[in-house]
């Protein structure tokens, strides 16, 4: 087949092919690979001592703990939402479905800063419920709850967007068979639907988690940048970098870059091994 194709006029000549491939490698090298490499190079540029010190700083540990806490709340919340939304949208037809899908896509079209601003306006001192919150001693803004809510807003589409096309492809026949054989709704869901979408679900969780741990703009607006209290890892990186502690900033950044590489590695593994059980068409990540 390949031998035959070489003789057909379809395809580019070796020179064109070489030029295109070179252009691609140069472009990806300068735009994607170089920034990734520079993170790890700069992280150890001042020696391993600076690297270890930066990671062992109390502020870094507090930021890491907060980042893990935020992801530990936001990801499961969006997991339940993603499954519920996908079940509703993929398995049923109803009026307003297109509007619902647009709403689910919304965070992709809104600037992270605007997403943060929305919560400042909702919970801030000048808002409708702001005075009530203050009177009752409830702190949302410039505190952990605000960071969690902003992160949930930014990351809720990831799992739903992954599951919807997958569930649509799979149709309803297996569930209908289970129900007609007498299984209850929940039993059908846990024993038929969930196993069918498990790899797609894991894929969505990976992307959601990466974004939840890395979100910067929205969290930056609602956090108030209180060191040791409301700084997540990305905000901590910003502060270190602006304090002219570039090596320390890159040391912390290398943690998140490593997380990104693990995410990409697992994602690629899932795509290679279970491509049949992931949604064929994927628009947004």
């Amino acid at each position: 087949m390949t031998k035959h194709r070489r003789h057909t006029p379809v395809g580019e000549g070796p020179v064109t092919r070489f030029i295109l491939l070179t252009l691609m490698v140069l472009f990806l090298g300068f735009i994607l690979i170089a920034p990734l490499l520079v993170v790890f190079v700069e992280a150890v540029s001042k020696g391993l001592g600076v690297f270890v010190t930066a990671l062992a700083m109390p502020d870094t540990i507090a930021a890491l703990q907060l980042t893990l806490l935020v992801a530990a709340i936001a990801v499961p919340a969006n997991l339940v939402f993603g499954v519920a939304a996908a079940w509703t949208v993929a398995k049923f037809d109803f009026k307003g479905k297109a509007f619902l899908l647009t709403l689910i896509d919304l965070p992709f079209a809104v600037s992270p800063v605007v997403s943060g601003l929305v919560f400042v306006l909702l919970f801030g001192a000048n808002s409708l419920i702001g005075p009530w919150l203050t009177d009752n001693g409830i702190r949302i803004l410039f505190a952990v709850p605000g960071i969690v809510i902003a992160t949930i807003f930014i990351t809720f589409p990831f799992i739903a967007r992954e599951l919807i096309p997958l569930m649509q492809q799979q149709g309803n026949s297996e569930e209908e068979a289970a129900l007609s054989l007498g299984a209850s709704g929940w039993r059908t869901f846990f024993l038929v639907t969930l196993p069918n979408v498990k790899w797609g679900l894991l894929y969505g969780v990976l992307l959601c988690n990466a974004r939840a741990m890395g979100e910067f703009g929205a969290v930056s607006v609602v956090s108030g940048h209180i060191r040791g209290l409301t700084n997540t890892l990305p905000l901590h990186i910003e502060i270190l970098y602006n304090d002219n502690k570039a090596a320390a900033a890159f040391a912390v950044a290398s943690l998140l870059a490593a997380l990104a590489l693990v995410t990409l590695g697992l994602k690629t593994l899932l795509e290679v091994r279970y491509s049949g059980e992931l949604a064929a068409s994927r628009r947004n990540h």
Binding site: T8, P35, E42, L106, V118, G217, F250, K267
Partner: protein
């Protein structure tokens, strides 16, 4: 009929209301209380106009660059076999996985005047990247690239090669075949990728602010100006800029959806 429709829809709508609708209603309410003259004064303020121009202008240029190179990358990944293809394919998703703040400080370091790329560009070519609109554009190219590649790639994989063979047999040259036979089928996906990359670029914040240097009137993007207004406790100013950006974002989302239904109708699933 499967069970769980009421529960699923109820939960979805309740969750979306809490997380999206009520907060957005708050923004709309705040914008409405501004009044037209105040809104107009903020929207036509010179610094705001410059920031909006910069955000939309650099996002447009970055989306054009990403469209050209995104199609090139998708083409090479789909059509050619070469060592390391799977690695490069995985690397395309890096901007989705790498936190924007990390990308931001990395790009700022690379393109700073004394950085590895910045020194060469400025020393040899006299091109200044850091603290200029060019720096903003480079950051937006980084964040927007996967949108074009990942929209075009699956369509390119599905394209039937027989039509190309027919065109070639009928005497069309390769370039003519690519431009007249393949590109029209890819066009909807290319447009969608362009729009997604543009929309992402307009709102991008984390990867831009470090390389941009944020000089008012020169390299200050609109999202940053919102943050500055908030830090000044000028909620009205921040809200007005956000409202303008949102209107344009909604318009682009609308166009994206139109493009997609159009492309589905004429060229199958994208």
């Amino acid at each position: 009929m499967l069970p769980g429709f009421g529960l699923g829809l109820g939960y979805t709508v309740a969750y979306l209301s809490l997380v999206v609708l009520i907060p957005l209603a708050g923004l709309a309410f705040k914008s409405a209380t501004l009044g037209w003259s105040e809104f107009y004064a903020i929207a036509t303020n010179a610094r705001v106009v410059k920031a909006l121009q910069l955000s939309f202008g650099t996002a447009l240029v970055a989306a054009v660059v990403n469209t050209i190179f995104g199609v090139l990358v998708a083409w090479c990944l789909v059509r050619y076999k070469f060592p390391g293809r799977r690695w490069l394919d995985a690397a395309v998703d890096l901007p989705f996985a790498l936190p924007t703040a990390v990308a931001g400080i990395a790009l700022a370091t690379l393109y700073a005047p004394e950085g590895p790329f910045g020194a060469i560009l400025e020393g040899i070519f006299g091109i200044k990247v850091g603290f200029t609109p060019l720096g903003v554009t480079i950051a937006l190219i980084f964040v927007g690239l996967p949108f074009v590649v990942r929209t075009v790639q699956p369509v390119l994989e599905e394209i039937d090669r027989e039509t190309e063979e027919v065109a070639a047999t009928l005497g069309a040259g390769r370039l003519r075949t690519v431009v007249r036979v393949i590109l029209p089928g890819l066009l909807p996906a290319i447009l969608t990728g362009f729009a997604l990359s543009f929309a992402r670029g307009v709102g991008e914040y984390g990867s831009v602010i470090f390389i941009a240097g944020n000089l008012p009137y020169i390299s200050e993007i609109a999202p940053l100006l919102i943050v500055i207004r908030l830090e000044e406790n000028n909620y009205a100013g921040a809200t007005a800029i956000a409202a303008i950006m949102l209107m344009i974002s909604f318009a682009s989302l609308f166009v994206i959806n139109l493009l997609q239904s159009w492309s589905r109708k004429w060229f199958g699933n994208v």
